[in-house]
């Protein structure tokens, strides 16, 4: 895809993007300037907001880092080569905040856009999980006919998982990044005013919320209960069945992956002891010292490779699977809402028909509105479903090739170690032979 610089806003004149002042960025950033990659996972305490001038090194550096993120987006699988993307979001740079009341993590949410809905071309805010949760709820409420991407799990068992460990934070951050990218990628959701607020507001005023709910949203929210759906249209039945079966399969894959991790971990324990025995044997030998040490070394290398494999699978593979299970849940909810809205329409229609037969009143407006609602809902859902299927295919392709790559990598490391041992031993052999003949 072409990473065109976002079109300069008319109001800001012809200045290139990097020179446009970005007051919010400088004010917002509780930065400790770091050297190195944009995705640094250092957990330092958040420092109080620096009132550095917009043109200071820190904000300039920040913008440069954003450009790096832009580079990363080039490889982003969600980038559609035919689409002209005009909204880019990234979640990174986790920081721990310790206050008297609580300890929590915030993430930097960076936005680059040329859309008119945004006042500025760039934004940089810090958000915590609660804020993402707020956004998702708002999106669900205001766009009930659309599929909202899932968030990573909200609750973690305090004794079991360390909420502040590097791995947990990294995993969660990646999931939040994916969530936001999926929303930003969506032709309808990305224009949602709550998303706008989330990306731009200095302080996310979650209590009031914005009074910009769409009419459709409002009316769907107030669907009266008590309507029973007679028949779900075939294509939505198929959707429902697919979701159920897919859910099942994902569950199975999750269990298999966990089982493999367990078996590998037990294998690793034994393998370490095995290597240790070779090491202890070295002491009794002279001629065999080198080969034995070599074997012990190769076993150790294999152990390391295996450990990395296990860690990677825990951090990258399992969370994505679980995310999809959550996704399926939320899609099923949308299906149900669709059913409800259809049920309401049919119910009202029936009632209206009966009344019409009695006293010849025209079709009430509400019934027509209901019909509209249902048709919109169906259309939105179908469109989203297609998108979702396509993204799902891509995600799983990536997930599974990643798994294959990691396994290949693990074997390659091991193979290299054993091969160099053979070279070493065979060299020694020829060395000995020549010294014997001399």
């Amino acid at each position: 895809m072409s990473v065109g610089a976002p079109r300069a806003l008319a109001s800001s004149g012809q200045k290139p993007i990097t020179e446009i002042l970005h007051p919010l960025s400088a004010a917002e950033e509780p930065l400790s300037v770091t050297v190195g990659g944009d995705k640094e996972v250092g957990l330092t305490n958040g420092t109080p907001v620096e009132t550095s001038s917009p043109a200071s090194t820190s904000s300039l550096f920040n913008r440069l880092q954003l450009d790096d993120d832009l580079e990363a987006d080039v490889r982003d699988p969600y980038a559609d080569s035919t689409e002209m993307r005009d909204l880019f979001v990234t979640v990174d740079n986790p920081k721990k905040h310790i206050s008297t009341m609580e300890t929590y993590i915030t993430y930097r949410v960076s936005t680059k856009t040329s859309r008119v809905e945004f006042d500025l071309p760039e934004y940089c805010v810090r958000r915590r999980y609660q804020d993402f949760d707020w956004l998702r709820i708002k999106l669900e409420d205001s766009q009930p006919t659309h599929l909202i991407p899932p968030l990573p799990e909200k609750f973690v068992m305090k004794g079991v998982v360390d909420r502040f460990s590097e791995e947990f934070v990294e995993t969660r951050m990646k999931a939040l990044d994916k969530f936001l990218k999926r929303v930003a990628d969506h032709p309808v959701l990305s224009f949602n005013p709550h998303l706008n607020a989330f990306l731009t507001a200095k302080d996310l005023n979650k209590r009031q919320g914005l009074a910009l709910l769409s009419k459709v949203g409002e009316s769907v929210k107030h669907v009266a209960g008590g309507y029973k759906l007679r028949a779900r249209p075939a294509e939505f039945c198929a959707m429902g069945e697919y979701l159920d079966t897919f859910n099942q399969k994902l569950g199975t894959i999750d269990r298999i992956a966990q089982r493999i991790l367990k078996e590998q971990s037990e294998y690793l324990t034994e393998l370490r002891e095995y290597g240790g025995v070779y090491s202890s044997w070295v002491g009794s030998e002279e001629e065999l010292r080198r080969p034995l040490e070599g074997v012990a070394g190769c076993v150790t290398t294999s152990c390391g490779a295996l450990e990395d494999l296990g860690d990677n699978m825990s951090l990258d593979f399992l969370p994505v699977l679980r995310e999809y299970v959550l996704y399926l849940e939320s899609i099923k909810n949308v299906l149900r809402k669709r059913d409800q809205s259809q049920a309401e329409y049919e119910g009202r229609l029936e009632a209206a028909i009966l009344r019409k037969q009695e006293d010849r009143t025209p079709m009430p407006l509400e019934v027509e509105k209901c019909q509209d609602k249902v048709e919109c809902f169906n259309a939105d859902l179908k469109a989203d479903w297609e998108r979702w299927q396509s993204n799902k295919r891509h995600d799983f392709k990536q997930l599974l090739t990643g798994m294959a790559d990691r396994n290949i990598n693990s074997y390659e490391k091991s193979q290299a170690a054993w091969e160099s041992l053979i070279t070493l031993l065979q060299d020694k052999q020829t060395e000995d032979k020549t010294s014997e003949t001399n």
């Binding site: 298999i256 294998y267 070599g294 090739t401």
Partner: protein
């Protein structure tokens, strides 16, 4: 009552070509069962106590990881045992001393009359003596340091190889689990592919590769059994080394005893001759208590003692020679063994490394194939 047992076919070809361009002799073939091999080995142990006799493969399967059969009639076990028995015969055939043994030759050539021939050698008398040497607890005053060191080394080697085999069996067990669980991916991918449109084919084929991966472990572990067998051979070898060292200890001990006895007898003679009692003897005490003996009695006792001393000196000389010869031959064989062990184990470790490389390559192959399928999803 019926007994089931396995017999092995032994085929021997002479190494030398037939002189004069005549027809080469047909190879000798005969059948032997495991217990006959045991008999041969016992004979060799007893007849050549200064030689480290090659071991036989285990009678019953030990150090097995659970999937491998521990059943003596299982074809894989029988095959591995066959290899072990062949190895035993080859070791004996290539040994500078053992290869010339007549009983060994008859073992290879004389099917029927062999058992009698062995029994006729009267080797069984020596079996008891050997057992005595192995189990006896005696202290040698001046142990030969080389033999002590060798015995210690062989004990260490025994311990470490036992440990290695035990842990290896557990490792094999675990690795089996890892591979086999991947087979479950095969099934679930296949089921999943049924509900997919574009992803279906890729998933399905990838599933097949997962099945292939799961199946790889069977061959991998079977190959590794050969490595385990090589280690086992040397584990059992340590027993043979130990028994040579023990035999040496016994001979050394007997030599020391003989020397001791001679000294004691000479002292007695001295006392008798000079009349002084330095060494306690019942005769001495009784003569003190009940009066001295007559000159005649004394002289006859002296003569008997002289005789005894003569015999003692002969014995000592024999023991000395026996010990020297034993030490020389045993140490020569120990040196030979050490070289053989270093070479064999080094090769075993190299071939183990090669096996690991092959395992890695197979794994990479399958995962690469699966990856291609995923890419086509």
């Amino acid at each position: 009552m019926q007994e089931t047992y396995t017999v092995y076919l032994i085929e021997t070809r002479p190494a030398e070509t037939v002189p004069g361009g005549g027809v080469p002799a047909a190879p000798d073939t005969l059948w032997r069962r495991y217990s006959e091999f045991e008999l041969l080995r016992t004979f060799l142990l007893v007849t050549y106590p200064y030689i480290i006799i090659p071991p036989l493969p285990e009678k019953r399967a030990e150090f097995q990881w659970h999937k491998l059969a521990a059943d003596n009639l299982d074809p894989d076990f029988v095959e591995r045992r066959r290899v072990g028995l062949e190895n035993f015969l080859l070791r004996v055939a290539s040994h500078p001393v053992l290869s010339n043994d007549k009983i060994y030759f008859l073992f290879l050539t004389e099917e029927k009359g062999w058992r009698e021939a062995v029994l006729e050698t009267g080797f069984q008398d020596k079996v008891d003596s050997r057992l005595k040497s192995l189990s006896a607890m005696f202290r040698v005053k001046n142990p030969d340091k080389r033999f002590t060191a060798m015995k210690q080394y062989s004990d260490e080697l025994n311990t470490v190889i036992s440990q290695l085999l035990r842990v290896r069996a557990r490792v094999a067990d675990r690795l089996y689990g890892v591979y086999k669980v991947h087979g479950n991916y095969g099934r679930v991918f296949s089921e999943w592919s049924a509900i997919e449109k574009e992803m279906g084919d890729g998933l399905q084929s990838a599933g097949h590769h997962m099945d292939t991966y799961a199946a790889q472990i069977d061959d991998i572990l079977e190959e590794e059994e050969h490595y385990a067998d090589q280690l086992k051979e040397y584990l059992f070898y340590t027993d043979a080394v130990r028994s040579v060292c023990k035999k040496h200890e016994l001979i050394q001990y007997e030599l020391e005893m003989a020397a001791q006895e001679l000294i004691s007898k000479k002292q007695q003679r001295e006392e008798l001759a000079t009349g002084t009692v330095r060494v306690f003897s019942l005769k001495g005490i009784t003569s003190k208590l009940f009066g001295t003996e007559s000159q005649e009695q004394r002289e006859s006792r002296l003569a008997a003692l002289e005789q005894s001393i003569q015999e003692g000196e002969e014995t000592l000389k024999e023991k000395n020679t026996e010990c020297k010869e034993f030490v020389q031959m045993a140490w020569e064989d120990i040196e030979r063994f050490k070289e053989q062990k270093d070479k064999d184990l080094r090769e075993a470790l190299i071939s183990y490394a090669i096996m690991q490389i092959s395992t890695c390559k197979k794994g990479i192959q399958v995962w690469s194939n699966a990856k291609d399928c995923f890419n086509k999803m």
